[in-house]
């Protein structure tokens, strides 16, 4: 069964990178461009794992995570946050909002798949 990953990032570069790495690893990828777009895409995507950026226009990653956790149908979906090593405070805030884990940028494909494996059966 192909797993679906919803990626939420306003950067085209990052979306493309994720898409490349994930589709090569056999995942189906659905993309959203910011938090609001990500919330809109939840039902259609039926994602097994969500990967989200923090800094985005319209709705940032914190708002998005809270939105997912407040959504009866999707609150159990693991959410991985894209952060940099130096974003200690942001990691903490993301965890408070309900993030499952994080992926440290820049990631290589193995790290990415490792991270997904840690949250998806």
């Amino acid at each position: 069964m192909t797993k679906t990953i919803l990626t939420v990032d306003d950067s085209r570069t990052m979306r493309d990178m994720l898409h490349l790495a994930l589709s090569e690893a056999g995942f189906r990828v659905v993309q959203a461009v910011d938090g609001l777009d990500g919330l809109d895409a939840l039902d259609a995507a039926q994602a097994d794992v969500i990967i989200t950026d923090i800094n985005m226009p319209r709705m940032d990653g914190f708002g998005f995570i809270e939105g997912v956790r407040a959504n009866e149908k999707h609150r159990g979906t693991p959410i991985l946050v894209l952060t940099t090593e130096s974003d200690v405070a942001k990691k903490q805030r993301a965890r408070e909002a309900g993030a499952t884990g994080w992926i440290v940028k820049p990631f290589n494909p193995e790290k990415l798949i490792d991270a997904i494996r840690r949250v998806a059966a």
Partner: protein
């Protein structure tokens, strides 16, 4: 292209967009806009560049954007205030960031000193309120910023050459928060199996009676013994990194010193060697009914998979579409190929129309009507395809704020740049080739046009000079205006220079407009000293030539003490041209319609002879030279009587007029331009070629070149010019497309 290289291209494209956004945001802040979303957008732009740069290991770019980002983050959080000084620093930093981006893209280098100085200034800005946090985050050498791989500690492994087995006892008691964040105990246990062999004991003692069981709560705990070669506590702890704080966790090494019995009833052995981890996962999931939607969702969609998945995909894409403008990336080559083909289609359609007309069919016949529809459709296709190549002039305009800042700093002038109509669209090629002439004119406007702040104040003007750049569409062309509110053209000086350089006769009686236009003459430069800014050995004549090569015109109007305005008028596309098809000495030529003012039948009384081969014609109140195209292109040596032909009154770029003698007018037509230089070689007097409806090649006249009197037209060649002698129109093998 390899996919990663393609993403890199995207990254640099995105960088340009982010840089534009960054600058726009900073400029808005400079204007006093305090909308927090602007600061956020500015921060995001730099953050985004940093993120991508990290992915491609562009170290210098990462380092600089990190320091930049840190400063912006401090502003965003309100820790430091963005006053005018700070914003100026940020703007200059944006310029340096742009340098870094371009250096990373093109493999160039940046001004290290400037970059370093800017980074230090940014770090100082970030530390503005003296709080220690910023210092820790962006120290002097910015060395704190590095990417640590989330992996095993190689150092510890290397320190111990011989593999030794180590066992860790882990007591892991999740809390409800762990499951609320969608972490799964079973998956964490599975992760532990990657470190070595594990023995697990499940503690169900916390489970309440079923009636009291809250599916959202956590009741189970595990005790795990992990044994692996060179296993470290760090590696074990890392498995639980994401759940730290959401569980009770105790990790202790056994077998080394046995620090106090780890926990009671060491029943690990009692479990018996083999542990079925998956069974444990299942047990865990069954016990915690609530947070298992992943598993159920998977099960449900397992049935009619394909169709549903596609439908979902489409829906997801539709939602994504609403949020961002829908675009696709297409190779420019493909677009150009399409444009070329459409050009052929236009020609083909014209040929077909001509053939049908020759058959003598009635206008109302179904073939003729169908052909009309085809013509209409062809036009529409052509317009649509041209629109693909159209881009907003923004892409070239957005370079100018930086240019203006730099020149202002170099000249010590205070300048405000106002830009209008940035979204006006024009062909990509036109845009690309506009950059140099516009840059030159803006340099001129600041360097020569604007006065120093002191002079401005003395003249009763505001200290800050204004340079305005505007683009608009006007009657099928794009018009670009560059104006300044400076001192205007010093006409007496311009005229004096022109006289000194022998460009005009000392006693020439010129109108103000004619004097202003002298600056476009080759070899004219008003700057007393060639400065760094506007020097570079090119004058306005070069600007004019490059605008003309785009089929454009340039004009200047100036008012002493109030400033000057340069007006460029350019075609929207370089691929087609509205032309007047004429016959000259048996040849078919095309004159660009934009140059033609009117056509008339010369009367004998109006034509005056000034010599054997020089005539003028009186048109209303003025006399203009009458030029025989057939003779100037070398098609014939004897000019037929002017009264037997037609005269086209044309206007050159500089406003000079002439009447061109042709034998007959065939009609007006939109023609597809085919470069002669690319397919043959440059021909004086000819701008390009086209293919007509009947398949013949017709040459497109270069009006300005034809208007210039040729002193050596009678076959005398200038010495030394032979090797590079361009072909003359009469030698062209016109049968080539027969």
């Amino acid at each position: 292209m390899d996919p990663l290289a393609a993403i890199k291209v995207t990254f640099f494209q995105e960088c340009e967009e982010q840089l534009a956004e960054l600058e726009a945001g900073l400029l808005a802040m400079e204007e006093g806009d305090h909308d927090p979303e602007i600061v956020n957008a500015v921060f995001r732009a730099v953050h985004s560049i940093k993120g991508g740069a990290g992915a491609f290991s562009l170290e210098d770019l990462v380092r600089f954007s990190h320091v930049f980002e840190t400063a912006l983050d401090r502003i965003r959080s309100g820790a430091i205030e963005a006053d005018q000084e700070a914003i100026k620093l940020l703007l200059r930093s944006a310029d340096v960031l742009a340098d870094h981006v371009r250096a990373a893209r093109d493999g160039g280098t940046v001004d290290v000193g400037r970059s370093q100085a800017m980074a230090e200034a940014l770090a100082a800005l970030a530390e503005g309120d003296g709080s220690g946090e910023a210092e820790a985050d962006a120290g002097d050498d910015f060395g704190d910023f590095e990417f640590k791989p989330v992996a095993f500690d190689m150092g510890e492994i290397a320190a111990e050459p011989a593999p030794t087995s180590a066992t860790f006892n882990v007591r892991f008691y999740p809390q409800a928060a762990l499951y609320q964040k969608a972490n799964e105990s079973g998956l964490l246990l599975r992760e532990l199996t990657r470190l070595g062999d594990i023995e697990v004991e499940l503690d169900t003692s916390g489970l309440p009676m079923l009636a009291e069981l809250n599916p959202e709560d956590a009741y189970l705990g595990w005790t795990i013994a992990v044994t692996g070669e060179n296993l470290t506590e760090t590696a074990v702890r890392e498995v639980f990194e994401w759940v730290d704080g959401d569980c009770y966790l105790d990790i202790a090494q056994t077998g080394v010193a046995a620090p106090e019995a780890p926990f009671e009833g060491a029943s690990i052995d009692a479990m018996g060697g083999e542990v079925d981890v998956l069974a444990l996962i299942r047990a865990a999931q069954e016990a915690e009914i609530a947070p298992a939607p992943t598993a159920t969702a998977t099960a449900i969609t397992a049935g009619p998979a394909k169709q549903k998945e596609q439908a979902l995909d489409a829906k997801a894409q539709a939602t994504a579409r609403e949020a961002s403008p829908q675009t696709i990336r297409v190779d420019l080559e493909r677009v150009d190929r399409l444009i070329d083909l459409v050009g052929e289609l236009v020609i083909n359609q014209a040929m077909l129309a001509q053939r049908v007309a020759e058959c003598g069919l009635q206008r109302a016949s179904s073939v003729a009507v169908g052909l009309d529809d085809l013509e209409h459709l062809t036009r529409e296709i052509q317009d649509s395809v041209m629109a693909i190549r159209a881009q907003p002039v923004k892409s070239v305009f957005q370079r100018f704020p930086r240019l203006v800042r730099e020149i202002a700093a170099m000249t010590g002038k205070e300048v405000r740049l106002i830009m209008d109509g940035e979204n006006t669209e024009v062909d990509k090629t036109v845009i690309e080739r506009l950059s140099d002439p516009l840059t030159h004119m803006i340099r001129n406007a600041i360097d020569h046009g604007l006065e120093s702040p002191e002079d401005r104040v003395a003249a009763g003007k505001p200290r800050e000079g204004v340079v305005r750049l505007a683009a608009l569409h006007r009657s099928g062309r794009i018009v670009i205006e560059i104006s300044d509110d400076g001192r205007g053209i010093n006409r007496s000086r311009v005229k004096q220079i022109a006289v000194d350089k022998g460009l005009i006769a000392p006693d020439a009686n010129l109108s103000d407009e004619e004097i202003d236009n002298l600056i476009f003459m080759a070899g004219f430069s008003t700057a007393a000293t060639v400065s760094d800014i506007s020097g570079r050995g090119v004058g306005m004549d070069v600007v004019r030539r490059s605008i003309q090569s785009l089929g454009g015109r340039i004009n200047i109007s100036s008012r002493p003490g109030q400033g000057s305005t340069f007006t460029l008028s350019l075609p929207l596309t370089l691929a087609v041209l509205d032309g007047m098809v004429v016959t000259v000495a048996g040849q078919t030529l095309v004159a660009p319609l934009t140059a033609i003012i009117e056509s008339l039948q010369p009367k004998a009384a109006d034509v005056k002879s000034l010599g054997p081969n020089a005539h003028v014609i009186a048109i209303r109140d003025s006399h203009v030279p009458l030029i025989d195209i057939g003779r100037s292109l070398g098609y014939r040596t004897v000019t037929p009587p002017p009264t037997e032909g037609v005269a086209l009154l044309v206007e050159g770029e500089g406003g000079a007029r002439a009447a061109l003698m042709v034998d007959a007018i065939q009609g007006q037509r939109q023609v597809v331009i085919k470069s002669l230089e690319a397919n043959y070689r440059p021909v004086p007097g000819i701008a390009a070629a086209t293919i007509l409806g009947d398949g013949r090649v017709a040459l497109i006249l270069d009006i300005d070149a034809v208007m210039v009197p040729k002193p050596h037209a009678a076959g005398a060649t200038t010495s030394g010019a032979d090797a590079a002698r361009p072909a003359s129109a009469s030698e062209l093998p016109l049968a080539m497309a027969g």
